[in-house]
């Protein structure tokens, strides 16, 4: 029978992660679909673009998110929604990682605090420095 004892012994974390991943992907895909529809309404074209406006550009991910919500990279509402959809998609596993660090810290499981913190620091540095 399925019960709380099966799995890796962390049922609360598993339930939280499952919910987080599902919500992140659904929000992201809704934004992408809405972005594509609005892009078509604006330009009457759905061509694969090689224009500069079709590429994600910036210096680091966290400044990029901030600037995106300030409208600094705006190339129309369609592209903007598609960009936010990609940001949400990228943030989904990232937030899953932060949740895991907090959970293991709360549980005082220092081994897994270190393991998840290592992954979080490496990913954060890579997002910030590229």
């Amino acid at each position: 029978m399925r019960n709380e004892k099966i799995g890796s012994g962390e049922p609360k974390l598993e339930t939280g992660i499952s919910f987080l991943l599902m919500v992140g992907v659904i929000i992201s895909l809704i934004l992408e679909i809405a972005g594509v529809i609005l892009l078509y309404q604006s330009y009457r074209s759905l061509a694969i673009s090689q224009n500069e406006s079709a590429f994600i550009r910036g210096n680091d991910f966290f400044t990029f998110i901030f600037q995106q919500f300030q409208g600094k990279h705006s190339s129309g509402i369609g592209m903007e929604l598609m960009t936010i959809g990609i940001i949400v998609l990228i943030l989904t596993p990232y937030i899953r990682l932060i949740t895991s660090v907090v959970y293991f810290g709360w549980e005082k499981n220092l081994k897994y605090v270190f393991i998840t913190l290592f992954v979080l620091v490496v990913i954060t540095l890579s997002l910030a420095l590229h």
Partner: protein, 276 residues
């Protein structure tokens, strides 16, 4: 002519086939995009973003069913993300011609899946090395094949981690999940049951892809008009494929798998040779 709608439809079919054959969407989609004239580096970078969507979508249900071992996944992610960052960095600097050949060569690891034993035949490992025990790398899951709770312990934690470093390197470099390779490492080195291996691999793939994307982010390779239809299509296709997987015979799946892998290897080799 390729546009957002046609790429979405292609991605749905590819996500569907990738889910049925276990190859994953990006492994099929990248060679197809190259065939349709998209630069290989752009296809690889955008493939990594699509992988986050398909992996996270399917991982959500496996984690909920408590088949995925999140502790094993988090330990192995230390290795895969390191490999993925190195791999993606290599891709941004090397000549594209090498990528065609590396891609074709790595597709050969997909055949490792063929030797996979039946999911119901798992024999629990009685041995567990000190590091795996210290890290509490063990778990259990309810097996619908045998109607029993299967308990397991991981073994060879360090060697398994090094295997995952190689898997991460290939994934970051080629924009794919490298699922077949990851599952092989988990089953044969870490001695995990097949169902735990494949669902834990799926969970790890999302984080590995994030590490790869972090390198590609501002490299001028992430094209919104490619990423959006790829992410939408492969996720819808993968969900549909997962639902009908059990209704298709193993023989039909094996034939489909062979035809697709042979086509993909041929296509990448052809592109590589004609680009020299």
């Amino acid at each position: 002519m390729l546009n957002i709608v046609s790429l979405s439809l292609i991605s749905i079919v590819v996500g569907f086939l990738g889910s049925l054959t276990g190859l994953g969407g990006a492994s099929i989609l990248i060679p197809l995009l190259v065939l349709l004239g998209i630069p290989v580096k752009e296809a690889i970078a955008c493939g990594m973003v699509a992988i986050i969507a398909t992996s996270s979508g399917s991982a959500a249900s496996y984690v909920k069913e408590r088949i995925t071992n999140v502790k094993v996944a988090m330990y192995l992610e230390m290795f895969t993300i390191t490999g993925a960052i190195v791999g993606a960095t290599i891709t941004t600097i090397i000549h594209p011609i090498y990528l065609y050949f590396f891609f074709a060569a790595f597709l050969l690891t997909s055949f490792l899946k063929i030797k996979k034993p039946s999911d119901c035949d798992f024999q629990e490992s009685i041995h567990q090395d000190r590091i795996a025990r210290w890290l509490d790398l063990k778990g259990s899951y309810y097996d619908e094949c045998t109607n029993k709770v299967v308990e397991y312990k991981a073994d060879h934690a360090v060697l398994g981690g090094l295997g995952m470093l190689v898997a991460g390197l290939a994934a970051g470099m080629l924009g794919i999940g490298a699922g077949a390779f990851k599952v092989t490492v988990q089953e044969n080195i870490l001695k995990l049951p097949p169902k735990v291996s494949s669902t834990t691999s799926n969970f790890i793939i999302g984080m590995t892809a994030l590490a790869g994307v972090s390198v590609y982010l501002f490299s001028g390779l992430l094209n919104l008009t490619l990423m959006a239809p790829m992410a939408i299509g492969t996720t819808i296709g993968a969900v549909a494929g997962g639902r009908i997987l059990n209704k298709i015979s193993d023989r039909a799946l094996r034939i489909l798998f062979f035809l697709i892998v042979i086509f993909l290897i041929g296509q990448m080799l052809y592109k590589g040779v004609t680009s020299i």
